[in-house]
Structure formats: structure tokens, C-alpha cells
Symmetry: C2
Subunit: 478 residues, 2 copies
Amino acid sequence: MADKRVKMIASKSQDLNAWYTDVCTKAGLMDYASAKGFIIYRPDGYAIWEEVMNYLNRRFKEVGVRNVYLPTLIPMSLLKKEMENFEGFAPECAVVTKGGDKTLAEPMVVRPTSECLFSDYYKDIVHSINDLPIKDNQWCSVVRWEKTTRPFLRGAEFLWQEGHTLHADKNEARAFALSILRIYDELGRDVLALPFVTGSKPSSEKFAGAEETFTIEGLMPDGQALQCGTSHFLGQGFPKAFGIRYTDHNNQLAYPYYTSWGVSTRLLGALIMVHGDDNGLVLPPRVAPIQAVIIPIRADENPEVLKAAKELEANLSKAGVRVSLDDSNKTPGWKFSQYEMKGVPLRIEIGPKDLAKGEAVLTRRFDESKSVLPLSSLPAQVPVLLDEIHAGMYKKAYDYLKSHIYTCTSKEEIDTVLKEHKGFVRMMASDTPEEEAFFKKEYAATPRVLPFDETPFGDKDPVNGEKADKVLYFARAY
Amino acid sequence: MADKRVKMIASKSQDLNAWYTDVCTKAGLMDYASAKGFIIYRPDGYAIWEEVMNYLNRRFKEVGVRNVYLPTLIPMSLLKKEMENFEGFAPECAVVTKGGDKTLAEPMVVRPTSECLFSDYYKDIVHSINDLPIKDNQWCSVVRWEKTTRPFLRGAEFLWQEGHTLHADKNEARAFALSILRIYDELGRDVLALPFVTGSKPSSEKFAGAEETFTIEGLMPDGQALQCGTSHFLGQGFPKAFGIRYTDHNNQLAYPYYTSWGVSTRLLGALIMVHGDDNGLVLPPRVAPIQAVIIPIRADENPEVLKAAKELEANLSKAGVRVSLDDSNKTPGWKFSQYEMKGVPLRIEIGPKDLAKGEAVLTRRFDESKSVLPLSSLPAQVPVLLDEIHAGMYKKAYDYLKSHIYTCTSKEEIDTVLKEHKGFVRMMASDTPEEEAFFKKEYAATPRVLPFDETPFGDKDPVNGEKADKVLYFARAY
């Protein structure tokens, strides 16, 4: 093969957008489908999503959630019922008007989300208090008519999970929605190495029909916020609109409390943007399809190098490491670039000199730090190193997030932050529609989150001068 | 709670259809969606499918297959290209004509299968021999416009996997399609306890565009065949139609060879029909969401019974058994019926007398055989018992299949079999369109499979008297 370096990509700091699409395509995560707005999840991209699925399936199971599957298509009348009952719910949908060669009496939409479908189902299966709680989850894709494509971040179709639960007790329902948000936050911390600000959505940003929407908000390298997952406490709105009732302990008819919650492949977008660098993708070890790549050096003249590399591959694999040996005839330089682009967390080189000393050279993708270790120690050491890499990546991202939260107590400070620093503005807020309008007009920004567990640091909103008892983060957002 | 038995279901032998839908709904596997043709996969139904997914993901990975995801919607022009190139491909589709509130310039269909979408993608990513082989698989749902619903067997939407591979070498491609069929056959044998007849589809029953279609055919209790999975060797048809080409070792442009293959939730239908009985569902242990249920007897007066039951639950769970303890206040009789209906493979009763002897009573769902075993032996014995149950269920189904294959060497014999016995007619065949027309007209039956590895037992087709060198099974079919 030609000894050429992997094709260059745009600079992350100079052109984030170009860099982002370069990485998505050149790291082999996705491809554009020929239909506008749609993408193809290639094996290395889908594998990351599968690790998210594995983690969440395990966590959901622990809290009694089971998987189900409801239809892809929703009768228009069901969606309309939701739109009429919940102001602000007006998804742009793909509409099926023909089945076979016949025009349908009632059009159907490709699911944009499934609350109305679950509600229609629950009304038939919920009868008594003994049927509660119900805790369902569905892995599927959703379609929202959207012609701009930013891979994983915005597009006509994405993959997600949508959870739906019903509870007899209001507090139990709200607490459950919160417990799911904690799972999402831990998915970030423990799997994706992504830190989030967690809290409630300001009233203007809640899901239509929600009493409270809880959110995990990430911060991207351009200082823009990205909503990475939400959990809604929906109260009794859907049960009342769709007639879901049960006989309670006192033999009275009652409406249950509803929660719904979801994360999507948008998380892949966050992961790419937060961790990647000018050499390409940087994957956190726990979702990397290949965690360590072994590259033999000058193996053609030194057959014992390849032998040692194969032995190491077998030993690491036995130790539970997702390892790959690249013994192709490409140059080491080409391979280095290639696996950097693909974001493989750890590179292990073995050359004749290393082998003579019984050693290998290990290079961590995320900070390029090198170490030389005895070959025999690697099956024990590599899993430790991968955990260190995860911790290091999380810390780096966490430090970035924390250092881009700016506490502001005056309009002037807000102006300065949004012009000079970019990131979250942290302020005392009144959370009113007027305030929201001001943010949008003045800064093209939105109120993102009322964070959990923060102590008020004043009692006046610096934007409108009104009384304020809530801490609010706002920012420009994706 | 009221001490009533679980609602009765129809008799399997007297009314298979009514029995089947009774079991599907009353065992909690599915529910009907309000849109005609669509069903809801409830947790106990979806869990079976998840076990199928787990097994196949593991097996596919062993042969180098990776998961991908391509769009739900296919531009009409792509589907038309397939229809124009491959005679007989004319799926009834759900057609999207509107996006948001605008009429689309080009309608799109909800995927009925994705060969044209994969081909359109492959033409962009396949360039050189180094890009081959490609081995992709997709888990998704497909929609085919169909108003009759027989849960899992027929309907507007089902869940499936569809594999798509490209190979430079023709023999490699054909062998790969065959190796996938072997995996499907082993899924039946080792996971679902379902025996199949394996072989090639007769020419009239091949997938449009396929050079060869390999199939696993099951036999249902009414003597009708059910196609349970297919693997297609597609030759170069799709690459030629869609322009997928690569530069080979001699720097010449060449077309790769294509295979595609799939199994669907139809397998759940086969499993229900083959194993179920008049008391409801009978689940093979390896897909059962609950493998063993513990039912304490007279625990209200004997607190030590509940204590022992809980201890047993913990120990079985530690031994890797999916176990559930039902300590609700329903009567043992109600519980027995309930878990019989749900098909739980093993029931474990502990009462005060058993406990005094340090024993429990175990009842196997599929053959109702009982054994009394020391409590302390159960963590070791239950996994063994579950394997025995699996083997017993497979043998029972295998014996049924084998005893319903009738070798016929004359028209009279064929008549007799289809009138009196029901099952597969095994005969020497010429595999011609005329023969197929005759089967359809005379017996409302179709040629199902040219089985692998069977020795010809004559040289003349008893139907049309023509020269015949192939063994053929034909039957009425779902």
C-alpha cells in the first residue's frame, strides 16, 4: 500500500463545524444517506451506541424497568389528541398517507415520540392498583422532519430509548423521574466521561405536558450548551387526556402519575465534540470498540516481534480488553495516524529493541503520554491504564465545564461573559416569559437549567430586577 | 384477592387459531395496538426476542459481522430501481408523502427490507479489494402493508435482523450465506428448542434477486409449514443494478457478491405454537424471562417457609438462574395456573412438610413430571434440570417433525397424506413452474424446501412424471 498519512482534517479550534463533520466521517462513525436529513450509523459509530444500550439496560433492570416495543406508526387521531391537550406539542412529522396502493382513511405518522401511543395502550391494561407501577422502556428510532443534518446532533432520524412509567403515588413518580436522571448523569460520568450540569428545565423549556422536566446539560468546546437527556414528571395530564384509570385501595377510580424519559444518539455528538482533538476522535475506553491496538514495528525482518505481538493480543483479550493487532503491511506512521483518527484509547508498540528488553511502549490517545512497561505486566496493567484514561478524560472535561460557568450579578457581567468567554452564565433568576424573551433577543441564548443543590447568592434577577430565588444557568445552545 | 383460577383458554387440539391468540394475549406476550395490523410487544414477549438477539449477536460477532443502522425511510426511486431490476419484488409499503406540512417531491417508504438502501450505501464505501468483505447486520422493524393480524406470524410490522454482506469471491459469499443458515438452525436447536428442515428454496419460492435462498422450515401442530428464516446468496445482481464496484488484485474493476439474511419475531409464533398446550404457553428455559418460580405453601401460618423460600431465591439467583418468588397473597392454585399460562419452565413448591424434610417439590412445565429434591441441592440441580427440560422439549418437537414427514412415490400417496395425516410430503421433484401450479391448485400447498444431504430415492416426479433428481418437501404453509 501507498505509505501516505491519513487524510488531514480541519482544526478543531479554528473551525469546529468542519472539524466535527470531518471526524464523524473520517473516523468511520457515520455516512450520509442519499435521502436528505438521514444518516447511516456505521459499525464503529453504532458500537458506541451499543455500549450505551448495554449500560442502560443493566441500570434500568435494577430499577424494575422492562423493554417493550410499540408500533412505528401512530394514527393521526392519537397524535392530534396529544396536540390538543398539551399546548406547545407540535412535532414536524413524516406522514404516511398511503398503504400499498390505497390512500389511507386516516393518515399515520412515523413516531416522533410515543407518549400518546403508550397512553392508548395503558388505558387498556391498567385496571387496578395491582397493575401499578408499570415501568416500560423502548429502544427505537424516531423521525422528526428536519432537513439540516448535523450527524448525531440534528437530523431527520435518530436512535433513542424512551421510558414510560405509571405510578399510583405522586411522590413515587416524581422520585422515579429523578432517579432516571441520576442514571443518565452516571452514564456520563462512568461510561462516556462526560460531565453534565443536572437540574430542572426552566418553565419555558419543559416538555409539553410536563409538570417538571429534569435535564442533563453538557457544554461543548464552543461554549454552547447541549441538552443530552431529559426525564419528565408528567403528572396526571396524559392519564386524564387518554382515560387511564385504576381502582385504588378504597375502590375509587383514580388517575395514575406518568413519567417519560430519554437519551439519544445525540450523546455520541457530545462525546465526539468534547473529547476529540486535531488528530481526530478520542474515545473513552468504556465505549471504544477497540480499547488497545498493538502495532508491531519492523516485524517483517523480525518474525519474533509478530509472535510476541500475537501472544500479547491473546493475553490482553483473555484479560477482558477489546484489543486489536494490526499486522497489515502499512507503515507504522500510517497506522499511528489511522488509530489516532479512530480514537483508540491506547496504542501499544513492540519493536525488536523493545522485545529484546521484554518491554512495550504504550501511548495514551487522550494526552499522548507514553510509558514503557514489561510485556508480562500488560494483562494486569492495561485494564488499570484504561481506567486511568477514563478518569483523566472525565477530569479534563469536568475542569472545562466548571471553568466555563460564570457567576454574574449584573447585566454588564452577562454581556462580558457572552462576548469574551462563552459558556454558562450563572445568575439569580425569576424564570418568567419576559426574561426568556430577553435572553433570546439580546443574546440568542436560552435558559438551560435550574441546577440541583445550589445555594442562592442574591435575591434579585440582574436582567429584569425582579425578585428571584432560583439559580439559573443560561447559554447559547445547540 | 379473589381465589379464582386464571381465565380458561381454547383447546389447542380443537381450535388452534383461537388457542393461539388466547395464549398470546393471556400469557402477556402482546396486545393489539389500536391501528389495525399493528401489535404491542409486551415485556414477557419482548424478553424472548432479547434472548434471540443476545444469542445471534454473539454468533454473528464470531463470524465477523458488526451491527449498523440505516434509515427507516427509503426514497421511492431506490425501491423502484430494485423493483425494475428484480422481477417479483413488489412489496406492499407504507408510503410517506408528507414531511411536516409539505408534500414531498419524492415519496418515501417505510422500509419493508433494506437491500436497496444497503446497496446505495455500499456503492459509496466500496472502492478496492481491501474494503472486502463487508459484513453488516441491522436490528430494526420492517413494515409491510397488511391488514390481517396474527400476532408474530403476520401483521403490518415485525421486528427482525437483516444481515448484508459483500465478498470478492463467489464461493466465499455462498459459503457465508450457508454458514448463517447453520447459525439459524442452531438458534432453533440450542435456544428455542425448535427443529427445522434446512435446505434450499425451490426456484419459485426464492427471494426476488436471489440465485439461491436457503431456509429453515418449521412444522406447526396443524401440519402446516412455517418459514422461520432465510439466507440469500444474491450473486452480483444488486452490485450490477446499483453500481457497486471495486478494484481487484489485478487493478480491474469487478462486482462483488452479495448475501442477505434474516430472522424475525415470527420465531416467537413458531415457539408458541410448537411448545404450547391447553394450559397455556410452554417456554424453553433459555429464552424464558422467568426460568423457575418459587411458590411458598401456607407461608402465612409458617413464617419459616417464606424465609426458606427467600433463601432459595437468593441461592438460585447466585447460581445464574432467572428465578422469581411469588409470595403474594393469592392462592397456590391461582399461582399454579398463572405460571402455567405464562409457560415458566420449572415450578418449585415449598410447604411446611417439605421444609421439615429439607425438601422441595419441583414440577416441570412441559411434561408435568415432578421430583422431590433436597433444598440444599437445588442451586446445583436446577441448572441441570433446565438443560434437561430444554433437551426434552427439543426431542418432543423433533419427534413430531420427523413423524410428520411422509415419503410419497405416487399421486395417490400424496393425496392420502394431505387428507389424512398433514405434514410434509417428501417426494422426488422436477421443480418446475408447472409442478408448483399443480401443488397450489390441487392441494393449496407450496414447495417448501429442497433439503440438504438427502439421497434421491427415485428418478421420476410422481406429480408430472418428469425426470427428477431432487428431493422436495412440500406442504400447506402459513
